[in-house]
């Protein structure tokens, strides 16, 4: 990739992604969504 293409690539990337493997986690989901969403917003803005 040329340098310009690379810069555009990373401009499209969100600052952070969180991966959560889930197995029978229905009870934790609402709280998880709330806290993790808040943490990501705090750390990286509205990506």
């Amino acid at each position: 990739m040329t340098e310009r293409e690379e810069k555009t690539e990373s401009a499209r990337r969100p600052r952070v992604s969180a991966i959560v493997p889930c197995f029978n986690e229905q009870e934790s989901l609402p709280e998880l969504h709330r806290r993790l969403g808040a943490a990501c917003a705090e750390a990286a803005g509205d990506d």
Binding site: S17, P21, R35, L36
Partner: protein, 292 residues
């Protein structure tokens, strides 16, 4: 990115619901229970972020730490891993077993695997790319991240007891994970087997010399008991060697199949182009994604 791997309750429908309402959330459903390590691998492959946070769903790892972890990475770390100084809510035997496990693992392998660190990590993009380039089938993500090296920094935190649900790691699964971890990173057990075989061989030979000498010298013939002891020792050494060799042969066989690691059944996200809340699968139905 929530990755569901074979939940039997209503986790997946709940995930679809959240993903349709919140554009930040992407729900990924693996076609069946491929295991947590595979779910993590799928997430790593699909996650678009500059940095990737791996976190458990049970909220024993606090999401609030993300901001300080990002700050550490801004300071130059490539990996920020969570370090738990103590384990509240875990039984004593499990704690002792875990400490012993990491000590033995550290001795058997040459890579620094931090004890008391779990899966809770923030990874840099280039670390993720290196991980994705690894075609290994037996995935032990924790160990692979350590293997990659680069600059890894810990962040300490306290781990509260589980928010909901029960632990997935039965003793059987933990032992299996231990075997996986050791054989993924070390051939020292194989070396041990060779030493053991050598020792048994040498010992047996010396014993044989002694037996013949004492027979020649007219001393009392060795009893049945000592014969049995020797037979048993040699046989158990042989069995041990076969077992360890079998472990590696098995891995070579499985690795050579080049089977896809997992199959993504579909991906759901809030689609701004269409009607809000519509499900947009990443592939047409009937053509599930697979990744080798």
């Amino acid at each position: 990115m929530l990755v569901n791997y074979g939940s039997r309750d209503s986790t997946w429908p709940a995930m679809i619901d959240v993903a349709q309402r919140d554009r930040h959330v992407v729900a990924v459903n693996l076609a069946r229970n491929f295991g947590k390590e595979m779910a993590l691998s799928a997430g790593l492959a699909e996650a678009p972020g500059e940095r990737v946070l791996i976190i458990d769903a049970d909220l024993q790892d606090p999401p609030e730490l993300l901001k300080p972890m990002m700050a550490k990475m801004d300071g130059g770390a490539d990996v920020v891993y969570g370090l738990r100084p103590d384990r509240e809510g875990e039984s004593w035997p499990k704690r002792a077993a875990s400490a012993a496990f990491y000590r033995v693992l550290g001795w058997l392998t040459d890579i620094p695997i931090a004890h008391d660190a779990g899966d809770f990590r923030l990874l840099n993009r280039r670390v993720v790319d290196v991980l994705l380039a690894m075609p290994e089938s037996h995935r032990y993500v924790r160990g692979l991240v350590s293997w990659v090296g680069m600059r890894q920094e810990p962040i300490e935190y306290r781990r509260p007891p589980r928010h909901a649900g029960k632990t997935k790691f039965t003793p059987g699964k933990l032992i299996a994970l231990a075997f996986d971890a050791v054989s993924a990173f070390s051939i020292r057990p194989l070396r041990l087997a060779s030493y053991l075989g050598l020792f048994a061989g040498v010992g047996g030979f010396l014993l044989l010399v002694y037996v013949i000498w004492s027979w020649l010298a007219g001393a009392a013939v060795q009893g049945w008991t000592s014969l049995m002891v020797v037979v048993l020792l040699l046989n158990s050494a042989t069995l041990m060697v076969i077992g360890i060799m079998g472990e590696y042969l098995g891995r070579t066989y499985l690795e050579s199949k080049r089977r896809p690691l997992y199959v993504i059944e579909r991906v759901v996200r809030k689609d701004p182009a269409n009607v809000p809340g519509a499900i947009s699968p990443s592939a047409p139905a009937g053509a599930p994604e697979s990744r080798a």
